[in-house]
């Protein structure tokens, strides 16, 4: 009974994480469309939300990696999963507060790894999975998106260079509706699957699901709904950083950046790599900018983003480990997770209230 209660808390927390994931990552998906005025902000956000939802149903390869490839499912209990989730949510909120587009995926993986490490020691962490399925794609994906977008935009300018700017801009704005949609689809499939994988991990720990099997339908549907809702609620703060502070774009660059990002994410999702959609799209945006003019990219902001990438896994791991430690103070029952959940909700409410009081705030990205 007690462990069922913990399971319920974990599922609710996982869906809450999925919501913040959508909330946090909206910017990645829609910033380029809004920046180039291909779509009105409200419409772009709603469109991305719908395609996020649809995208979540495309594949389960990434969910399988999360559920069985990174930590030893046999050693994991619900409390560890809870600690990992809190690590990810905590880090997501911190980076959101400062307007930094860090990676929700790496936050989740970092949180779970930190929590499992503290609970069960190094044996609980599958080092090879962490390196092969997470670390290497984490390095490859943004560089790849950067190169693909750079090559693509160079070709585009060669092809349409002699035409009147007006018709080119109109054409690529129309194209951005397609490329933006594909990107939302790709984002939905890679990111919603991470939540499905986490819930599957908790279900296995609870004995409700056999290790290695696909997550049940209700998990897929609720994860899809949570990320779509989060996307719809939007992260306007981060939209500003991604869309205009990194680079001023024309619609051809927007198309190249989105198309390249979508290509990389879809290809990686198919291979079961839980890569960071944030990193990948940032790489595409920078590639599309750098190919035109190196000075077009505001490298200071880009530098801040890179710092957030590097610290995400260790920071989330620390928060995850600390959360697990705190819940253990209250034993192995449901009390610990309950106490932490209530405390977390209180802290989040406080932060939101302060934010509202202060009005629009200068983000860390701008201040540096």
């Amino acid at each position: 009974m007690d462990s069922d209660l913990v399971l319920i808390i974990v599922v609710v927390t996982a869906l809450a994480f999925d919501f913040t994931n959508g909330f946090h990552d909206t910017a990645n998906v829609v910033a380029t469309s809004i920046s180039t005025r291909a779509m009105a902000p409200r419409i772009a956000v709603a469109y991305a939300a719908v395609l996020n939802f649809v995208g979540a149903f495309l594949s389960l390869a990434v969910a399988a990696t999360i559920a069985s490839g990174i930590v030893e499912a046999d050693l994991i209990n619900e409390q560890i999963v809870f600690g990992g989730l809190m690590g990810a949510i905590g880090w997501n909120l911190i980076t959101w507060y400062f307007g930094l587009p860090s990676s929700s995926s790496h936050a989740l993986i970092g949180g779970v790894v930190g929590s499992a490490f503290v609970a069960e020691g190094p044996d609980a962490v599958i080092g090879s999975g962490l390196v092969g399925k997470v670390a290497v794609p984490a390095l490859v994906a943004p560089v790849l998106a950067f190169l693909v977008a750079g090559l693509a935009i160079t070709l585009v300018y060669r092809i349409v260079g002699g035409l009147r700017p007006g018709s080119v801009t109109r054409g690529f704005k129309a194209g951005q509706i397609l490329s933006g949609g594909l990107l939302a689809l790709a984002h939905g499939t890679n990111d919603a699957q991470k939540t499905m994988g986490i819930i599957a991990l908790a279900l296995v720990a609870n004995g409700q699901l056999e290790a290695g099997s696909d997550p049940p339908t209700w998990v897929v549907v609720s994860a899809a709904a949570a990320i779509a809702l989060g996307t719809y609620m939007g992260g306007w703060r981060i939209i500003k950083t991604m869309g205009s502070r990194i680079i001023k774009m024309d619609s051809a660059q927007g198309f190249a950046a989105q198309g390249s990002g979508a290509a990389v994410i879809l290809a990686a999702s198919h291979g079961g790599f839980p890569l960071s959609t944030t990193h990948t799209i940032s790489g595409g945006v920078m590639g599309a900018g750098a190919a035109k003019r190196l000075s077009a990219v505001r490298w200071g902001v880009a530098g801040n983003i890179i710092v957030a990438w590097v610290v995400t896994i260790p920071a989330a791991a620390l928060i995850g480990a600390a959360t697990y430690g705190i819940t253990r103070i209250f034993g192995t029952g449901a009390v610990g997770p309950l106490v932490v959940s209530i405390a977390a909700i209180a802290v989040i409410a406080l932060v939101f209230a302060r934010r509202l009081q202060q009005g629009s705030v200068i983000s860390a990205a701008e201040g540096a």
């Binding site: 790849l144 190169l147 693509a152 092809i159 080119v168 690529f172 190249a256 390249s260 999702s269």
Partner: protein, 82 residues
């Protein structure tokens, strides 16, 4: 290094790299050709060159159809397990 080579499925990583390059660069380039052809269609019509205008219109349609087909193909591949 041998350990590193075993841990990472380089085949899958390489597949992601070449598929991304082909799809990302290819689709963007073909879409640009579509825009070029569409613009030329208008120019030729104004210039009274009906035959050339039709040829460019067909090229534009083919290019946009190829882009749409590539997107659909990408999504269909996603939904299939290997």
């Amino acid at each position: 290094m041998t350990l590193f080579a075993e841990v990472v499925d380089w085949g899958a990583v390489l597949e992601v790299i070449w598929v991304s390059l082909l799809a990302g660069v290819g689709v963007t380039a073909i879409f640009s050709i579509g825009i070029l052809a569409a613009a030329r269609t208008g120019d030729q019509q104004k210039g009274g060159q009906g035959g050339a205008a039709t040829a460019y219109a067909v090229l534009a349609l083919l290019a946009f159809a190829a882009v749409a087909a590539a997107m659909v193909f990408g999504v269909v591949v996603m939904t299939q397990k290997d």
